[in-house]
Symmetry: C2
Subunit: 361 residues, 2 copies
């Protein structure tokens, strides 16, 4: 493709403001270095000429670069996948908020695609080598994630949205992350239902593929634990035993939510409310209670996705705008920490756990 029109360059701004191009550069990047009057003159010229710095030139020359890469995924229906009603809601929204947060602070967010882990590693190398990204935001990390080694060996700053479940040490200074406290959300949901008068509050969640006492292993466990903890606080008679009787765990689908609610209704006809680990499960549960003429059972979902609004049930919002802001904060702080390896003091900044927000409906 062709460059259409000769854009304004720093030279023209310098001429208009009657200073050198270095002074224009300084006025933009190091305002303190130039006299207020000069800066004024430069800023006026910039405004008058509608000047925007050429980012390619800046990035070529500068030590400071300012872009982070994040993967985007398809939500198309495929044979293998597309679990749930809108499985990609959180990731899509996160990418949106990250892009918006980046625009606010002059950080470019570049998206890339990859169909599997191997392709993604190729992409990461390409992005870093071509200087298209100097920081990576990972999503959906898995145990022994191969991407982590690659990034470490390339010495590229990275951060994950989501805790590295299964890692020996969730708070390793090697692995910065930002995450949302799911248990806080389901606990808040449980308390809200209690406050509305419900006492028999069940849970529909995801299967936990492995559990280790005293060590959280998955989002599935995280969300379940919030429900258990809140009920134990509210009702001393509620035990780990009781929990197992009042929960149904399965895969992420409307059908499983429906099935779960059916089982709960039959085993516990006196159930008054159900906390769900997702809006997809919640919709299933809602459709089942409705068709069983049990609309008295209150349903609460998770993610505050459009489906929760359409069907009018309460849900937990992850506040992804805050997550995105924190992600860029942490990535920046990680970068500066890498620069000063002696400064161990701020390691804790590298892990941010944010609270989600209950949206009552």
């Amino acid at each position: 493709m062709t460059q259409k029109r000769q854009a304004t360059s720093i030279t023209q701004v310098a001429a208009a403001a009657q200073v050198s191009i270095q002074t224009v550069s300084n006025a933009i990047n190091y305002p303190d270095r130039v006299k207020p009057e000069t800066r004024q003159r430069v800023l006026q010229a910039i405004q008058a000429l509608d000047y925007t710095p050429n980012l390619a030139a800046r990035r070529l020359r500068s030590i400071h670069t300012t872009s982070v890469a994040v993967r985007i995924d398809s939500n198309a229906v495929t044979e293998s996948g597309a679990r749930g009603l809108y499985a990609g809601f959180i990731q899509d929204e996160f990418v949106y908020q990250l892009t918006a947060a980046g625009e606010r602070r002059g950080v470019k967010v570049v998206a890339y695609t990859a169909e599997d882990s191997e392709q993604e590693i190729t992409q990461l190398k390409r992005l870093v080598n071509s200087r298209d990204a100097d920081g990576i935001v990972l999503t959906s990390t898995v145990e022994n994630d191969p991407r982590l080694d690659v990034l470490a060996s390339m010495r590229v700053p990275f951060l994950s949205f989501g805790r590295p479940w299964g890692a020996e040490n969730l708070y390793s200074p090697e692995h910065a992350w930002v995450d949302v406290d799911g248990g806080f959300g389901t606990a808040a949901a449980t308390r809200m239902l209690w406050a509305r008068g419900a006492r028999r509050i069940a849970f529909i969640g995801w299967v936990m593929h492995r559990t280790v006492p005293g060590r959280m292993q998955s989002t599935a466990e995280d969300r379940r634990v919030g429900w258990v903890k809140a009920l134990r606080e509210l009702n001393p008679a509620f035990t780990a035993m009781t929990a197992r009787k009042w929960e149904v765990l399965g895969e992420e689908s409307v059908a499983k939510g429906r099935e779960g609610a059916r089982r709960l209704l039959s085993q516990h006809p006196d159930v008054e409310a159900i906390v769900c680990a997702s809006d997809t499960l919640a919709l299933g549960a809602l459709l089942e209670t409705t068709s069983a003429a049990r609309s008295d059972v209150i349903i609460c979902g998770f993610d505050n996705s459009p489906v929760s609004k359409e069907f009018g049930f309460s849900s937990i919002d992850q506040n992804l705008d805050q997550v995105a802001d924190a992600a860029l904060d942490v990535l920046t702080s990680v970068t500066s920490r890498v620069r000063r390896p002696t400064d161990q003091g701020q390691a804790e900044v590298a892990h941010v756990l944010l609270q989600p927000q209950l949206i009552e409906r």
Copy 2:
């Protein structure tokens, strides 16, 4: 942020291959200009050193630039909006496919956000001035879209995904577009239902805010017309009059789909199938026919979104991978046409209408 590691540059490749940097550049960009043996040597060195060209340098120097911008939107639930179950499905998926198609051909897709048209214009200027994008892919264009004038005055090549409904001439060479033939899709759905034995086939769609005889004005009209045309072909007794009795038009929501189906069931208890303009409307219709114990009524949706899979109804897939490929093709051809203004011959390339695909379930 800081550059971590000294990346391989063209100089090192040149040294390794024992040629000059120009020859390396030529081997990459103009393979025909170098002797096969030399090219081999260069390619081996590139491979051995894991070299990726610095895009900032390339873009700074080169006349050819290779990035297009596209807007991404939030799908979060807000007071004002978030219509339907997953209103952003098509746009999100389009952006994904555009990014993937771009990666295949070395075109970077940069995403930007904007809350309104005014903000978007600011963003477009910024993107173009900073040489971050030299082509724009617009989505959801409206009548008298203010973005069009801005892009025209900046002489930036652009294309819209979606026809400029309401424009005097849909095929103006000034406005390149790629779109999907919605009417083709609903006609295919109607024929499929007929083939399955249904004769009384109703339609639930969106309100058409204005209609002009002989001139299509909206996606709402486009999708409705496909249903009408197919039925007129299949059933000579079906008239414009009949159409008005067998359709319900409203806003995009599950509740409206439900309401539409309720009305159809009461006015036409013998209805056998319903074609819907969206998966959201289709879900509403499905829930209504199910709760009215009329599961014999076949429902067909539009977009082949995850909800159509979860609930197992047929739908129309827009084949967004093809749309994305066509978009990049057209944007490239538009660019080259701008370069040679005398070459009027290929104007028709600038408008591509693709056929969607019926997914039967």
